[in-house]
């Protein structure tokens, strides 16, 4: 009996070290990081901006301005390395930084041009960090500016940007990329990924710069729009919202979006087509030693709304609408392709993978100067669109003369 009890206790005691490193940290000894931003300081050191949850959001109001109460505090520290920088946080906040719930990683434009590999390293190496956070590029800004902006709907800037990122993704005008997706590019032949971008809203930033504006602009003055191309983990260029949608069509990432085309019955009026299904495929063939690249899109949709009159269910009008939508999609893909070929020289569609899989020998020939080969290749775009329904009505309400 005693032996058995001793045995049981021993086995249970031996299982204690199995759980690896553990420690008991009460929540109030932690600072929960929701957003983190990376910039290059003037002296070349790393500048890290962290947005941490305010432990007492009712009493502390950092910016002290009007608008919603901010539930977070923003700290900026510098350090030779990222790890050194975050060590300096502890001196500032008196709390350990807690990385597991980072919602957003913002990378300043200048820093992104140098490459994001260094910051990815920490997120991969640390046992606490979370690779599921979204990465976003601050277009024409520093990351610090973005995180310091005053949120007006959510309690934290990170949460608000993250929410609007998710919202914009549904319309296909930006891209949601997690740190994990970027890390995964490491195994690609030619690492190239499109990530979301945030920029100053032209119309509203003018208003924000009026004399009575505060030190930190409101987040309302910024908009998550378009996307950035990271080629070899370095910022290589931007895609406009339309180009982004073109890219997403080809990348088979569009679920639903809205495309507005001219009303075939009444000129100068628009009809919105709501896409219900879309699938995109890329294909790379070698013809006469030259790559022949094709993007094929199959899409279905319904009429979402109609300006002006006319019965869109008439066959000729359906034909005209279909052609117009196909044309629109083709135009968007073509402009995305031209940006990727001419401006950034980066194969965002990953044609390289297709060639690698289908014709390895040819790929080995091209691999060295793939960027040039890609830039000079023709990209054919085939779009097949089908209008399934006119919606719940056929003809709009008309004025009776």
């Amino acid at each position: 009996m005693m032996k058995k009890a001793a045995c049981l206790l021993l086995i249970l005691a031996l299982s204690l070290p199995l759980c690896g490193c553990w420690n008991n940290f009460d929540l109030d000894s932690l600072a929960i990081v929701v957003g983190v931003g990376f910039d290059r300081a003037d002296d070349g050191r790393m500048q890290v901006t962290a947005e941490v949850l305010s432990p007492n959001p009712d009493q502390e109001n950092q910016s002290g301005g009007s608008g919603g109460k901010r539930g977070s505090l923003v700290y900026t520290v510098e350090g030779a390395t990222f790890f050194e920088a975050i060590r300096n946080f502890i001196a500032k906040t008196g709390k350990r930084l807690y990385w597991q719930d980072v919602q957003l990683v913002v990378v300043g434009e200048d820093y992104a041009k140098e490459g994001v590999t260094d910051l990815l390293d920490y997120f991969q190496r640390d046992q606490q960090a979370n690779l599921k956070s979204d990465l976003i590029i601050a277009k024409g800004m520093t990351a610090q500016e973005v995180l310091k902006a005053q949120p007006n709907i959510d309690q934290t800037a990170a949460a608000q940007i993250n929410n609007s990122l998710v919202g914009t993704v549904t319309s296909g005008e930006t891209v949601k990329a997690m740190l994990f997706d970027i890390v995964r590019q490491n195994s690609a032949l030619k690492p190239c990924i499109v990530v979301g971008a945030i920029e100053k809203d032209k119309a509203e930033s003018d208003a924000a710069e009026s004399p009575d504006s505060k030190d930190s602009p409101e987040l309302m003055g910024m908009v998550v729009k378009g996307s950035a191309i990271l080629k070899n983990f370095k910022l290589a260029g931007y895609l406009s919202p339309e180009e982004t949608r073109g890219f997403l069509f080809a990348d088979d990432k569009i679920q639903s979006t809205i495309i507005s085309v001219e009303n075939p019955v009444e000129k100068n009026k628009l009809v919105s087509i709501k896409l219900t299904e879309a699938s995109g495929k890329i294909k790379a063939d070698i013809v006469e030693n030259k790559p022949k690249l094709t993007v094929e899109i199959e899409a279905k949709g319904a009429v979402g709304d109609q300006q002006g009159g006319g019965d869109l269910t008439a066959p000729e009008h359906i034909g005209a609408l279909t052609a117009a939508v196909e044309n629109e999609i083709r135009k968007e893909i073509a402009s995305a392709a031209s940006v990727s070929q001419k401006e950034s020289g980066s194969d965002i569609f990953c044609f390289s993978e297709d060639i690698y899989q289908n014709d390895y020998n040819k790929w080995r020939e091209m691999a060295q100067n793939w960027d040039d080969v890609y830039a000079q290749s023709d990209i054919g775009i085939r779009v097949n669109f089908l209008i399934k329904r006119p919606g719940m009505i056929t003809e709009p309400v008309e004025k009776k003369e």
Partner: protein
């Protein structure tokens, strides 16, 4: 260390039993009743003292030897005493001398109409008869006395029990009188095999204890074992069935009860019909049932009196409540201090904002709030009802609110512990072990987080697997698994579907008469 302790405990027990046996033997030597009434009177006064409730009535008769009647006032029915006993004695005196039978036979025949009559030739027995409310009639010159069972005292009538209440079901409960309790069971089970074996336990209290079982249904081994344990009890006092429970239970130091108790005749009857044995104890409405398994803690009368589909949810709620009340504080502690990443972000934000700026750690504040609730509960239980309501309002509402407002304990902790305490009342039978298990879990969680909870769970579960109730494994029919008995564990099947008696208890397959389709 545990072994030594157990050995020591066993020795103490054995020693005590031995001494008691010797004393009992000495007592057993019967002293004859003195034939001289004066000597007898002296002896009685010597034995019973000059108690004010001890009544001795000497009736001198001119044509007959003097008669001495002894009884206890308040226990013996005064009306019966005057009318039947004294009346008969004087009537005998006035009858013609010739052709009349002996006085003792005459009185016996006369009294048989109204009460039970016994002949006694042993003084000690006579005294015990007096003390249990009988009237004893001594005659001058005779060595035998007559005892008449004319006991009558105030009894509570059966009313609704406070424990194990049901929405639908009988409203009667056991009472303090063993005779009434016995009759209640007889009324429920009209079966000649229902047996009551009466014991008298406790040298000072002489408490009547009934071992009750259905012969043929209850396993012989269990009945024999319980009988043996009851006979082995050597003690002075049995005031409540809990005293008996402590003498006969298998695991005296266990957190879990291995002897069940109920105040409801319907519950006791159903346990008897399943093949369990019941122990009735005079002076308490609580009837013990054996063997008592873990699952019985989670079964409630309502399960059988409501539709099986809905009572399934009731039982599930009780299972969930049991797990929640044991694990919730520990999980709260381990998630907030060790595994923050496992908390959904929005919940973490909520807990974080209320948690910060609280002076004590989660472990201390959990223990503090648990202690506070335990104190309020204890105070409310012990006080009379009108005052206890004030205590629970002041304690729960006022103090609880003040603690949160003052920032002594975070709101999240108070919410977690309140839910824990409330869910604890879902399984009232397990409430006491749960209180202790909770603290064990909390300590485990405070040291190594979820791993600690797992380790403590393993120890408790292993312990539950190890203990027995009268030879039946405590966790059966779950461990060891019994496919037939499991029908009444996690689900409660319709009554007609539970057609066999629990095989873990009867130790063999006994088919019940099916209520449905014959």
């Amino acid at each position: 260390m545990l072994g030594n302790f157990k050995r020591f405990y066993k020795n103490v027990r054995a020693e005590r039993t031995y001494q008691q046996n010797i004393n009992a033997e000495k007592e057993g030597v019967g002293k004859p009743i003195p034939s001289n009434l004066d000597t007898l009177k002296q002896r009685l006064i010597q034995m019973l003292g000059e108690s004010s409730d001890f009544v001795l009535k000497k009736i001198p008769l001119d044509r007959n030897p003097t008669v001495l009647i002894a009884c206890i006032e308040g226990l013996a029915d005064k009306e019966l005493l005057d009318r039947d006993i004294i009346g008969s004695v004087t009537a005998y005196n006035s009858r013609p001398q010739s052709g009349r039978e002996k006085f003792v036979d005459y009185l016996k025949n006369k009294l048989v109409n109204t009460c039970s009559v016994k002949e006694i030739s042993d003084l000690d027995r006579a005294v015990i008869s007096i003390l249990s409310g009988e009237a004893v009639v001594f005659t001058d010159g005779s060595r035998t006395a007559l005892s008449a069972g004319i006991q009558k005292w105030e009894k509570r009538s059966p009313n609704e029990p406070k424990t194990g209440t049901v929405l639908r079901g009988p409203r009667e409960g056991f009472v303090e009188s063993i005779a009434i309790n016995r009759s209640m069971l007889r009324r429920k089970i009209i079966n000649p095999s229902l047996r009551f074996e009466t014991f008298s336990i406790g040298r000072q209290t002489k408490t009547k204890v009934d071992l009750c079982y259905i012969k043929g249904t209850a396993s012989e081994e269990i009945v024999n074992e319980v009988r043996k344990r009851l006979l082995n009890i050597k003690t002075d006092v049995i005031l409540e069935s809990a005293y008996l429970e402590q003498f006969i239970e298998d695991a005296p130091f266990s957190l879990f009860a291995t002897v069940g108790n109920t105040e409801r005749p319907d519950v006791a009857a159903s346990k008897l019909l399943e093949g369990r044995v019941a122990i009735l104890c005079d002076g308490t409405p609580f009837v013990l049932t054996l063997p008592y398994l873990f699952v019985e803690n989670l079964q409630a009368g309502d399960d059988y009196y409501s539709r099986s589909a809905t009572s399934f949810f009731g039982r599930m709620i009780r299972f969930i409540g049991f797990l929640m009340t044991v694990y919730l504080p520990a999980l709260y502690l381990s998630f907030t201090c060790f595994h923050q990443g496992a908390i959904p972000f929005k919940l973490l934000v909520t807990i974080y904002t209320v948690r910060v700026n609280v002076p004590f750690g989660i472990f201390v504040s959990c223990l503090f709030v648990l202690l506070l609730f335990a104190l309020i509960k204890e105070a409310a239980e012990l006080l009379p009802e009108p005052v206890s309501q004030t205590v629970s309002i002041v304690g729960g509402v006022v103090v609880g609110q003040a603690i949160i407002t003052a920032g002594l304990v975070s709101v999240a902790t108070v919410i977690v512990i309140s839910i824990t305490v409330i869910t604890g009342y879902v399984v009232p039978e397990l409430e006491k072990p749960i209180t202790i298990m909770r603290v064990f879990m909390l300590v485990g969680a405070n040291i190594v987080g979820n791993l600690g909870i797992t380790l403590v769970s393993i120890v408790i579960f292993a312990y539950m697997c190890a203990i027995h109730s009268i030879g039946v494994p405590y966790l059966s029919p779950i461990a060891p698994l019994s496919g037939l008995d499991i029908k009444d564990v996690f689900f409660s099947f319709p009554v007609w579907a539970i057609f066999q008696k629990p095989e873990t208890i009867t130790k063999r397959y006994v088919k019940r008469l099916r209520g449905k389709n014959g």
